[in-house]
Symmetry: C2
Subunit: 335 residues, 2 copies
C-alpha cells in the first residue's frame, strides 16, 4: 500500500487515468483510435464488453451475431440486456478456422454487431488478415447503418501466427476490448479497456460510469507501469515457446486436435457421439484431468474438449495421454 | 506488488473471497444475513447498486421509488435499465429529515423498491430508528408482493447520532450496499458489496458475474485486512470530532443550514429564488469555493448547496464566510 500511503487512493475520472488511456491508445496505434479519448478503462474486459453491448445495441431492434465456438459471456450479456443474440458457427471440417464468407452469409437486416474473439477462446484459432479483409470489405459494401465488429482481443498477446488480422486496422466500425488479465497473468487485477471511435466514446463512458464509476486506481497504476515498461508483451515469448511444446504433445497424443494459433488453449476431439459434459465430469472425477466441455462454447463444439496449457508441460502430456486412453475405452464401450 | 509476487493475482470466485464475505457478514451481523452466502463483493458500491436494480426490478412492471434529495445515480441506473423511477422528496420545513409517513404515502401498486441513502448524500440527515420502524411496519402491513428497501449505507461509518436506524435489523426485505470507499478513504480501491437475503444471492451474483466477473483480488485482500484489523471504524472518531467543529462553523456562518447527522457533507440554504447551479458556478469562478448545486440532487433541493468538509477546518470556515457574503450580495441585488 506504499502507493496509497503516498498518493491516497482516489477515484480517477470515469474513463480512466488519461496517462494510461494515452499509453494504451499509443501502444495499439489503431487508425483514428490512437488518442486517449478513444479509450475507456474498465473493470476487466468483461465490463468493457458489457458496457459496449449496452451502449451500442437497442433491444427492440438490434441483433448480436456471435461467431462460434465462443465463450458464453457474449450471449449471456445480450440476454441480460434483452438483446437478441444469434450465432454463426465455424465449421468443424475446417478445424473451426474463421471463415469470413460464412459470417457474411449469417448477417440479417437486424444484425447490428458481430462479436469475434481472435485469438479464439476456445478454439485457439486466429482470424487471418485476409479473412479480416474479406469481412471488412463485405461490411463496407453493405452500406446502410453500419454493422459493428466487436473484436475481443483478450488473447492478442498470445498470438503465434504472422498473419493475424485486426479489424481496427481495416474497418472503421470496430470496437476493441482487451485487458492485462491474460497478457500479464493478472486476471485478479480486473483492469481492461475498450478502444472505440471518437464519437462512440462519450456514450460508452457514461454507461461505464453508472456501472462502476471508474476502474481501481491502484490497478490503473499497475497497468500504466505495464505499458510504460513494455511488459505488456513480456510473457509473449514464453507462450510462443510453450506453444511449440504443446503442438508436439498434441501431435504425439494421437488425438484429433487443432494446432493453437493463439491463446493458451488446446482443443481435442472426442469420439463420435461422445457427450462432452459427461466426458469432462468423468475425466475430472476418475482421471484427475480438468477439461472444459465443448458444449459450453456452443452446440458446434459439442464433441470437443478445451484444455488450458499454462500449467506444467509434463502434466499436459500426461493429461493428453489420459484423455486418449479414456477415448479409446469410450470407443470400445460404444461398439 | 509483494502480494501478487507471492500469491499471483487470480480471479476469486464471482461472489468474492469467502473469507472477506464472511468478515463483512459477521461485522454487520444483520438478522438472517450474517453468513458469507449473504454477501456479494463488487467493484465499489456503485456496481452493487446497479446489479441490485438489475436483479430485482422488472422494467415492464416495477417502479423504483427514490427518497429525495438523493445522489442522481439511482434514477440514472434505473433509466439505463428502462425501469421507471419516481421520487418522494423530504420536506424543507423539516430540514429534509427522513419522514416515514411521507414515504409510505408515495408508494403505488407498481412500487417494488425504495432506495434510501442514510446517512444521506446530500443532506447529511440520518434516518432515525423510530422512522425506520414506522416504515418497516407499514411495508409489512401492506402484504402482497414485498416492497424492497435498498438501504445505501455508504456513509454508515460516518454517523453522529445514537439512534440511527438500519432497515436490515427490522425489515426482512432489505438489501444493504456499502464499501470501504468512504469508511477508509479508499474511493479508488473500488471495493464494495451488497448484503442480501439468502434466496436473492444466487441471482445477484449471476448478474454481477456477467458485469465484471469479480472484484479486484488485490482490493479484496485490502478489504479483508480492513475488517480483520477492525479498521473499518478507524476513521469514525476523526469524523465525529470534525463534525463538532463543522457544526460550530455552520452556526457561526449565519447561513441557514442542516446540522450534519452523518456523512461528511454540510448543506446550506441560498437566498430565495437563487439558482443553485449558477450560484455554484459563480462561487467556483469568482470566489474559489467548490460547492455542489442542490439541483443535482432533485428539484426539492434547488435552493441549497452541498459542501464537503473532509478538507481543512479553516478553509471550511473561509468557504462558509464567502458563501454568506455572496448570499448577502445576491439578496441585495435581488431587491
Amino acid at each position: 500500500m506504499a502507493y496509497a500511503r503516498k498518493h491516497g487512493l482516489r477515484y480517477t475520472v470515469n474513463a480512466g487515468d488519461p496517462h494510461l488511456r494515452d499509453a494504451i491508445a499509443k501502444h495499439y496505434a489503431y487508425p483514428h483510435m490512437d488518442q486517449a479519448a478513444n479509450v475507456c478503462v474498465t473493470t476487466g474486459s468483461q465490463e468493457a464488453t458489457y458496457a459496449v453491448i449496452k451502449t451500442m445495441l437497442d433491444p427492440a431492434n438490434d441483433e448480436l451475431l456471435v461467431v462460434e465456438p465462443a465463450f458464453p459471456s457474449y450471449a449471456k450479456m445480450a440476454a441480460l440486456e434483452g438483446v437478441h443474440a444469434r450465432s454463426v458457427a465455424m465449421r468443424e471440417e475446417d478445424g473451426f478456422a474463421f471463415d469470413a464468407e460464412r459470417i457474411v452469409s449469417a448477417i440479417t437486416p437486424a444484425t447490428r454487431m458481430i462479436v469475434i474473439c481472435s485469438p479464439c477462446n476456445p478454439t485457439a484459432r486466429v482470424m487471418h488478415r485476409d479473412q479480416v479483409q474479406v469481412l471488412s470489405d463485405a461490411l463496407l459494401r453493405r452500406g446502410n447503418d453500419p454493422v459493428w465488429v466487436l473484436h475481443d482481443e483478450i488473447y492478442r498477446e498470445q498470438t503465434f501466427v504472422d498473419d493475424a488480422g485486426y479489424f481496427a486496422q481495416h474497418y472503421p466500425y470496430t470496437i476493441v476490448t482487451n485487458s492485462v488479465s491474460k497478457s500479464n497473468a493478472l486476471t485478479g487485477l480486473r483492469l481492461g479497456w475498450a478502444i472505440v471511435p471518437r464519437d462512440i466514446a462519450p456514450s460508452l463512458v457514461k454507461v461505464h460510469a453508472w456501472l462502476t464509476s471508474c476502474a481501481d486506481t491502484f490497478a490503473q497504476q499497475v497497468a500504466l507501469h505495464v505499458f510504460a515498461t513494455g511488459s505488456i508483451n513480456e510473457h509473449a515469448q514464453w507462450y510462443a515457446n510453450r506453444q511449440r511444446h504443446v503442438s508436439r504433445a498434441l501431435a504425439d497424443s494421437g488425438l484429433r486436435h487443432i494446432v493453437p494459433e493463439g491463446s493458451f488453449y488446446a482443443c481435442v476431439r472426442l469420439p463420435e457421439r461422445a457427450d462432452s459434459l459427461k466426458t469432462a465430469h468423468a475425466l475430472a472425477e476418475e482421471h484427475d484431468v480438468i477439461a472444459i466441455p465443448g458444449i459450453a462454447f456452443g452446440r458446434s463444439f459439442e464433441s470437443w474438449l478445451r484444455l488450458s496449457w499454462v500449467g506444467d508441460s509434463d502434466q499436459l502430456r500426461e493429461g493428453l495421454a489420459r484423455i486418449a486412453s479414456y477415448s479409446v475405452d469410450a470407443r470400445l464401450h460404444a461398439t
